[in-house]
Symmetry: C2
Subunit: 162 residues, 2 copies
DNA sequence: ATTTGACTTAAACCTGTGTTTAAGTCATAA
DNA sequence: TTATGACTTAAACACAGGTTTAAGTCAAAT
């Protein structure tokens, strides 16, 4: 048995966030004591763990509410719940893939600035006689990337010894 | 030379989103024609690519504005720009790691529901004589995970042949 | 007995990230 | 030459996801 404060501490969130989730229908299983205070049971933490996972995965609160509603309806909705999680698995996989693409681009730009810092000017990457980046710059990076064994050597700026 | 509509089409966003970014200081380099319309140069697309990457990485608009400001100040800020990207690289790496953790949990829950669907009831995972999930359920999954060669066999529900 | 601290609610407030609306400008095709 | 479509602005609106505030309840320690 835990109070809202206990749960807030355990989850690392604000008590008012928990009350907000409750109001949005995410915690229909939470009971109350004689004074009207929320009482969280041990098994409620399993629910909260799922809710927390979905929130951290970027699922909107209303959407999570739909899943919780399925959970409250017993074994008849087991398949729907499986399908819900199956869908979210796919969404999350795509999200991670997308993030990885952005990370690759960020690393190209780190290389761009590492080499610029080393040269003292960004203009080493400009097309001759212009102030614009040479369209071949990224391909040059790709080539260097393929021929390098250590990504860090390629994109990290050497730090003075500490 | 591109109009705001061209850029919107290329980036797959709304023209009003571009105007919004401009107002927030993300596009100080964009010029105007005699009629006051935005004119995007080829090199502006390089900036927009970076902005788009940072946005997709979850960086707040104001924060991106800071980077753009550095870009407008010439070679004197090269090191700061490198450090900015270095920081964002780390943030993004952590974000991906976090997402991967949520994905692992989601897969545990998929297994939980796959096995429940197969059994016809969720109660196979309850502690004997209770309505609460057995605390050892997750460990049981972990063990099965270690001994399995194909994740999909473990967590994906067999679909009828199509 | 009263004070303290954790809880309760409803309602107001705030931030980020745009979108929509209304009124107007301009180049070009019919 | 006029109608169309793409652009311009400022300001209002929307919406998610909370946080803050104000007023009150209650149990337990002083």
């Amino acid at each position: 048995m835990y109070s809202i404060g206990d749960v807030a501490d355990m989850m690392g969130i604000n008590t008012s966030a928990i009350r907000f989730y409750d109001k949005q229908g995410l915690l229909p299983f939470v009971e109350r004591d004689s004074a009207g205070r929320r009482v969280f049971k041990k098994n409620d933490l399993n629910f909260i763990e799922v809710i927390d996972c979905l929130k951290k995965s970027g699922v909107p609160v209303k959407d999570i509410g739909h899943f919780v509603q399925l959970c409250m309806q017993g074994d008849g909705t087991l398949m729907e719940r499986y399908e819900y999680l199956d869908k979210e698995e796919e969404v999350l996989e795509e999200k991670i893939e997308e993030m990885q693409k952005q990370l690759d681009f960020l690393r190209y730009k780190k290389w761009y600035y590492k080499t610029s810092v080393e040269a003292g000017t960004e203009s080493i990457h400009f097309a001759p006689g212009t102030n614009a980046v040479d369209p071949q710059t990224k391909e040059k990076f790709q080539t260097e990337l393929e021929h390098c064994t250590n990504l860090r050597d390629l994109i990290d700026l050497a730090r003075p010894d500490e």
